[in-house]
Structures are given as structure tokens and as C-alpha cells.
Symmetry: C2
Subunit: 199 residues, 2 copies
């Protein structure tokens, strides 16, 4: 066999292997769904509904914690957050210093593994996901995350920081925002009912 | 409207609601796949390959713990377990007192919720699962488990006991056993190489 043929075959094989290896990806920019956050030491779970706007860096979270609803709007571009209390039409505004983490597999994430949650013997029995790990320099944290192969949707993340460990699980995700008003603070947040904290 | 018509409509509605509510189910009797077990206090994860025979109450586990392979055969009907060391062709036999827990949603489990891990906007982006909870009287434990709606495959389980908390996640499940010999102890387990422990 000619050396040029051998080199061409090797190159094709290498390209074929590389094509199979999943690439870091970005989730759709507008998503809604549910998220459950578990703190490791207590196994205490907080379940929230979320609306996510990756374009304008906004989150709305509706958590049901210990019977009371916690309604939070996070505007990362404006670096402000609102805790909204509809029952008495008031708001608490405060500074938002946490950096925005978009729903994505960061470009420097390390691919670990591809797996199926559930089964693959029959349709509908499982979902194909990729496992990634990486560091978050701002928090000195390490993450192990799972994103779907199709659609690049977040499934779960184990997040270790020097202070604590977290298990975050996403579910019931749909593409798009049913009501874009969820990212606009209600009128009473800008009026006399609003109590600014540290801004 | 005639009273008999009203009663019939109400009955039909009730039956329709009941038909939508998921029922406890039993996983296929022969399964293979992967399982990851995380202990809550340390977040230490052990990943194993498993073969499961629900008919003859047998498990084979191949764990890769701290670099060394741990190969365990659990025969619950015979109440015996083998730890197998292929590298020096020896076995350690010991009594197995743990009760067999089949892969199933027990008949007395309480249905909590139906959800999609991942998304439902496009095919292949998620898997529909049911969430269950219940008690294990033998261990005074409480479980929260997820099984797929289609195929009744285990996805994950949070298991609280008075001693510790566990998060068990299943993946890459296929129906059937590729090699039925996995449940038969290798010849050297019955020979002089075998060291019985407490039997």
C-alpha cells in the first residue's frame, strides 16, 4: 500500500473518532422547567420552577420552601435581584454579585463519558446524555454535569465548592418562555412598596 | 339530566382519572447496566456494572473502587456471597443476610409525581419517569425512587436510613443477560482456593 494511502486512511479514522466525541454545547437560550437543589450534608431538597433567558441573562425562580412560596427574579446584567411578595404586594431589592453562569457545557469542559439514563432496549425507556467536568475559577468549585446529547439540555450537576456540595437536577424542560413578562418586575417593585436593601 | 346519567358520567370521569395515575410496576426480570452509589456525607461515588436476575434472586457487581476491581456475586436464595479475585484465582465466601430487594416499585409505594428528566420539546431530549416513595421496614429506611413510565426501569433512588443516606443512580440498562454464566461462581470458588468466611 502506498504511504499516501496509509496516511489518508489514518487521517480519516482519526477524523471519524473525533466526529463521534461529543462537543461542549450551549443550551437553547430560552427555557422553562423545574430544578431541584439538594445540599449534601442534610439531603435537604428545594424544588423550584424556573424561567431562563440566556440572551438577556435573566432567571425567575418560584420555589416552594417549607410551605411558603419564594419568588425571586435575578437580573444578572443589571446586577440586581428582587424577592417578590405578591400576598402583600411588596418587593425586596438587593445587589446581585454572583456571576452569571449560562446553561451550557463551558468550552473548556472535559468530556468524561456518554451514558443512557434508563434503558436503550426500547424507545422511550431512556435518554442519551454526556457527562462533563470542569472548574469554576470564581468559586474554586468543581462540577460534574450531565447534558442531553440531543438538544443540549441540562439534566443534573454535582457541584463541589470548598464550603459545601450540591446536587442540582433539572426536569420538565421546555424550549421557549410561555409568558415573557416573568422577567419584568411587577409594578409595585418600582413603587413605594419596594424596599431597597444593599444596592 | 337524569340522575343515572350524572352518576354514569361521574363514574367514567373517576375511572379516566384512575387510568392516568401510574401503577406500581416490576422491572424486567433480567437486566444489565451500570449503577452509581453516592454516600451523602462524603459524596464518595462507587460505580459498578451489574447483572440482575430477579427470577432467581441473583446480582453480580463489578465495581472499580480506588483503582482495584471488586467482583461480587450475591446469591440471595442461597444466602451466600462470593468476592472473586481473578488475578490470584481465589474467592472469599460469606453469609448474605441482607434481604433481597427486587428492582420494582413495591405494591405499597406511594405515587408522588410524574416528570421528564431532560425536555419534551423534541424527541430524544428526555425520558418520562414516575416518582415514588415508601418505607423499607427491615431497615427502617425511606426511599424516594424514579422509574421510567415506559419499561419500568430504575433511574435513581434516594435512600435514607437511620445510619446514612444514599443516592443510587442507574444507567445504560439493557433487557436480558449477555452471558448467563455471570451468576455461576467460577470453578476455583468451589475448590481449595476458596476461603469460607462466616457461613
Amino acid at each position: 500500500m502506498q504511504p499516501i494511502t496509509v496516511v489518508t486512511i489514518c487521517l480519516c479514522l482519526a477524523m471519524s473518532i473525533e466526529a463521534q466525541r461529543p462537543k461542549p454545547c450551549v443550551s437553547p437560550p430560552l427555557l422553562e422547567g423545574g430544578v431541584s437543589v439538594m445540599e449534601s450534608s442534610t439531603f435537604k431538597v428545594t424544588i423550584s420552577l424556573f424561567s431562563y433567558d440566556g440572551l438577556l441573562k435573566r432567571f425567575r425562580l418560584l420555589a416552594n420552601a417549607t410551605g411558603a412560596t419564594q419568588d425571586t427574579l435575578l437580573l444578572f446584567r443589571e446586577r440586581v435581584q428582587y424577592r417578590i411578595f405578591y400576598q402583600n404586594q411588596t418587593c425586596v431589592r438587593s445587589a446581585l454579585d454572583t456571576p452569571f453562569r449560562p446553561l451550557e457545557v463551558p468550552p473548556d469542559a472535559q468530556f468524561l463519558n456518554q451514558l443512557v439514563f434508563g434503558g436503550s432496549s426500547r424507545p422511550g425507556e431512556g435518554v442519551l446524555v454526556n457527562q462533563w467536568m470542569g472548574k469554576v475559577p470564581e468559586t474554586q468549585g468543581t462540577y460534574f454535569s450531565h447534558f442531553t446529547q440531543f438538544g443540549c439540555l441540562p439534566i443534573s450537576e454535582v457541584y463541589y465548592t470548598p464550603k459545601s456540595n450540591w446536587l442540582i437536577t433539572y426536569f420538565d424542560i421546555v424550549s421557549g418562555i410561555r409568558d415573557p413578562n416573568v422577567f419584568i418586575p411587577p409594578p409595585f417593585c418600582e413603587e413605594k412598596g419596594s424596599r431597597p436593601e444593599v444596592l
